[in-house]
Symmetry: C2
Subunit: 138 residues, 2 copies
DNA sequence: CTTTGTGCAAACGATTTGCAGGATG
DNA sequence: CATCCTGCAAATCGTTTGCACAAAG
């Protein structure tokens, strides 16, 4: 839909990022997904039908988008870096059996407050990581 | 001190892990540190004076200790896996400037409760990740 | 027309693996 | 003495880099 495309273009422009087909594709792909793909998964997805972006470009696009604050990294497994275009604050759950990752709404832990932090620490953001077993696994 | 050594040996035996000099050294090193070293940092530290363990052995010792539940991985930076022999539940703070990592006592977020989780999720553990600026950086 | 991005292939760093010999329980 | 661990070197995986050409603003 044309509207969606315009939104993406405007988001990139607002961050002073040049709008290239590859960068657009990476960001659009990430926005369209609810999982938290790795760079390699995005690359595969983009090039599944027609060649869209090279490996190096996907990596550099992801860096550019991250530096611009349009996406964030999700670190739940050693050595695996996932990406998330949902930059609204939220938490993550990971199933220890199947590895599925689910977003947890911010309000899930609305009770958390940072008052009790050791002195000298300026907290800017936080996130709760929950690990356990999902419904399909148990 | 002999007492300390015995504690470590007993911990390993209790988990049915063979007590080898290398495994002992890795675990002892991690127990003696308050930072959260990477595998490579542990390796360097162990071999600083006299050769103690090979790279492959440090990696496999860490895996064995982790599977036994004697240590846990700390994932705060993409592509970097740190290790922590403190298996008491606690949280982590990371300074966005200097990268220093500080433990936060469990009670810091005593108010967190898992009642509000989506149905079907069986939570087994959780951890709060706080990011911000430490006293030395600001 | 200046600046920045792309694609390729090579380089890189961290972790894993295969295997032969050695130590543990 | 059966099993598991160690050390070495090679292999692998994900990510980064250098550079020549192409595209964006």
């Amino acid at each position: 839909m044309k509207n969606e495309a315009n939104k993406i273009v405007n988001a990139l422009k607002a961050k002073k990022l040049r709008v290239t087909p590859q960068r657009f594709a990476v960001y659009a792909n990430l926005l369209s997904r609810t999982d938290h793909p790795t760079a390699e998964e995005i690359l595969r997805d983009l090039n599944e039908n027609t060649p869209t972006s090279s490996q190096a470009t996907v990596y550099s696009s992801l860096q550019a988008l991250r530096k611009a604050g349009l996406l964030r990294e999700v670190l739940l497994e050693p050595g695996i870096c996932r990406y998330d275009a949902n930059i609204e604050p939220h938490h993550h759950f990971r199933c220890r059996c199947c590895g599925v990752i689910k977003d947890l709404p911010w309000e899930t832990f609305a009770s958390v407050n940072l008052e009790g932090l050791p002195p000298g620490i300026k907290a800017e953001r936080y996130e709760v990581i929950v690990e356990g077993v999902c419904d399909r696994c148990e």
